[in-house]
């Protein structure tokens, strides 16, 4: 059996929405190079809808695939809906990830939420702090 599903390999080989958005409405970066993964998400938001999303990732195959899939799942969606994206949904959409790679999907969720938080902060929109998990929550770096 291959290490990754066909879907993971497809998103890894041909990542969607790669790049940068200049003057983005929200930018989020999570992870650290010491642990081997960093994800950065850029959002263009108009009328509370995610018009465009781009990402940059330093990391393994599943980190790149998770970022790619997560961007596809929120593109064109209302902000409120994007806020509901879970790492589980990302992993499922990829037809699963190996157990020790689940933290890659957690990073993707967190990167999007970090970018949304940035958008709320920039626009003075009130939000519930508890909706934003901190990076420590996945426990990967405490192995």
């Amino acid at each position: 059996m291959a290490l990754y599903s066909e879907k993971v390999m497809d998103h890894f080989r041909n990542p969607r929405n790669v790049g940068v958005i200049e003057n983005a409405d929200g930018v989020g970066e999570v992870g650290n190079a010491k642990c081997g993964d960093i994800m950065k998400m850029y959002l263009k938001i108009k009328d509370e809808v995610i018009e465009d999303v781009k990402f940059e990732t330093f990391g393994c195959g599943s980190a790149i695939a998770s970022s790619s899939m997560a961007t596809e799942m929120i593109k064109g969606k209302p902000v409120a809906e994007a806020m509901k994206l879970t790492n589980k949904a990302v992993a499922e959409a990829l037809d699963g990830l190996p157990d020790y790679k689940m933290h890659c999907s957690v990073l993707a969720e967190e990167a999007i939420k970090a970018a949304l938080k940035d958008y709320y902060d920039k626009n003075g929109i009130a939000y519930d702090e508890s909706a934003f998990p901190d990076c420590e929550s996945c426990g990967h770096c405490q192995i």
Partner: protein, 395 residues
């Protein structure tokens, strides 16, 4: 193009070795402990293999114990020396920070049992210094264990000098020679080695078989209790076919060793030169004092697993010291030991060329790695920060 460049992980069996082993899987299947002809034939083959291996490493046949591979040989060597030391009240072992886990984890186990272990650092070149080793020796040192050549960065250790030091002090000296046997000239007399581990699948023999050389007079203790095989030092019916194939593979490797080393060294240097042209990259380990086919690089701003997957797509089999390929959080202990930062160690690539490698293949590897590193850097936030000056380049 399909290029297997992971020969330090394992090698393809040579045709000679395959042919040598087949009769012992079929018509000559007897148990060497049986007294009828089929058994005695197997026994004869076993002893011929022992003689051939002993001759190549300049040992006597009685000093060779067949094992299931390098890890078993390492475990048995170290635990035997520890048991002997303990009897004399000596509980100190000297080793290095870049040993294989078969050695490091055995030493960890001994530490829990009250042994004191000194792991010598290696310098940036990935080589341990004999004078530092000498300074670490104590009255209660019962073993020095230093690998012959490193499995990740290929660096050759000053085995002869260490052997001399140990001889002077009367301390048993073990070397994990898994990456060296079949590739370098082996001489346990010249090198002053007491114990030496080897594994067949690293020199085109089969997996699951290896040997331990133990100098005459050194008393091995058993890892596996049972029958009286291997002069009582390793119970279990011998892997006759595997052992015969191991000897055939080693004999063949030895016959071609010098010519192969010359050719591979030239290809290795060509590969190193080509990859060094990638900006912000660095060779890991000394450029000259390394195994003929070993190339190991770090590329800043990318992660090793994604590099391996993309190289695999383009037909190149390689490996990496990235944490993502090891299943743990930390990147390779060897890369950290030579002073590579975590961030950089995640972006490592090991290419180990086989005997049949060609210039054309090496050029294809250079071109493919260059393009793939570029591609991964093009969407790496780490690379962006380095290029924009937000964080400083390390390499």
């Amino acid at each position: 193009m399909k290029i297997y460049a992971d020969n330090a992980a394992t090698t393809k069996m040579s045709q000679t070795a395959v042919e040598a082993m087949l009769p012992y899987l079929t018509e000559c299947f007897g148990n060497p402990s049986s007294l009828y002809e089929a058994g005695q034939k197997a026994k004869e083959a076993l002893e011929t293999a022992r003689e051939e291996i002993a001759r190549i490493i300049h040992a006597s046949p009685r000093e060779i114990v067949f094992t299931s591979g390098g890890s078993e040989a390492d475990n048995q060597a170290i635990l035997s020396a520890a048991a002997l030391g303990e009897k004399k009240g000596k509980r100190h072992i000297v080793s290095t920070a870049i040993e294989h886990h078969a050695v490091l984890h055995t030493l960890k186990k001994l530490e829990k049992q009250g042994f004191d272990v000194t792991l010598l650092p290696v310098h940036e070149d990935g080589i341990v210094r004999p004078e530092e080793l000498k300074a670490a020796l104590r009255e209660d040192t019962c073993l020095v264990t230093v690998m012959y050549a490193n499995n990740e960065i290929g660096t050759l250790q000053p085995i002869r000098e260490i052997g001399e030091l140990c001889k002077e002090k009367g301390i048993p000296f073990h070397t994990d020679a898994v990456q060296a046997v079949g590739h370098l000239s082996m001489d346990v007399e010249r090198d002053g080695v007491t114990l030496l581990s080897a594994s067949a699948h690293k020199f085109h023999g089969p997996k699951g078989v290896g040997f331990l050389y133990a100098r005459k007079g050194f008393r091995l203790s058993n890892l596996i209790e049972g029958g009286a095989q291997e002069r009582g030092k390793r119970a279990g019916t011998e892997n006759v076919a595997g052992i015969v194939a191991m000897a055939a593979a080693l004999k063949e490797a030895e016959a071609n060793r010098e010519a192969t080393a010359l050719r591979l060294t030239a290809l290795r240097d060509r590969l190193i030169e080509g990859l060094a042209a990638i900006p912000h990259s660095a060779l890991n380990g000394d450029a000259q004092k390394r195994l003929p086919g070993n190339v190991n690089f770090c590329f800043e701003g990318i992660e090793g697993e994604s590099l391996l997957l993309l190289l695999d797509d383009r037909g190149i089999c390689a490996s990496s010291g990235s944490a993502c390929t090891s299943g743990s959080l930390d990147p390779s202990h060897v890369l950290l030991a030579i002073g590579r930062k975590h961030d950089v160690a995640h972006g490592s690539l090991r290419l180990t060329l086989g005997e049949d490698a060609t210039e054309e293949e090496v050029d294809y590897i250079i071109q493919t790695v260059t393009e793939t590193v570029d591609r991964l850097r093009s969407f790496s936030p780490v690379w962006r920060d380095l290029c924009s000056g937000k964080s400083p380049f390390i390499l």
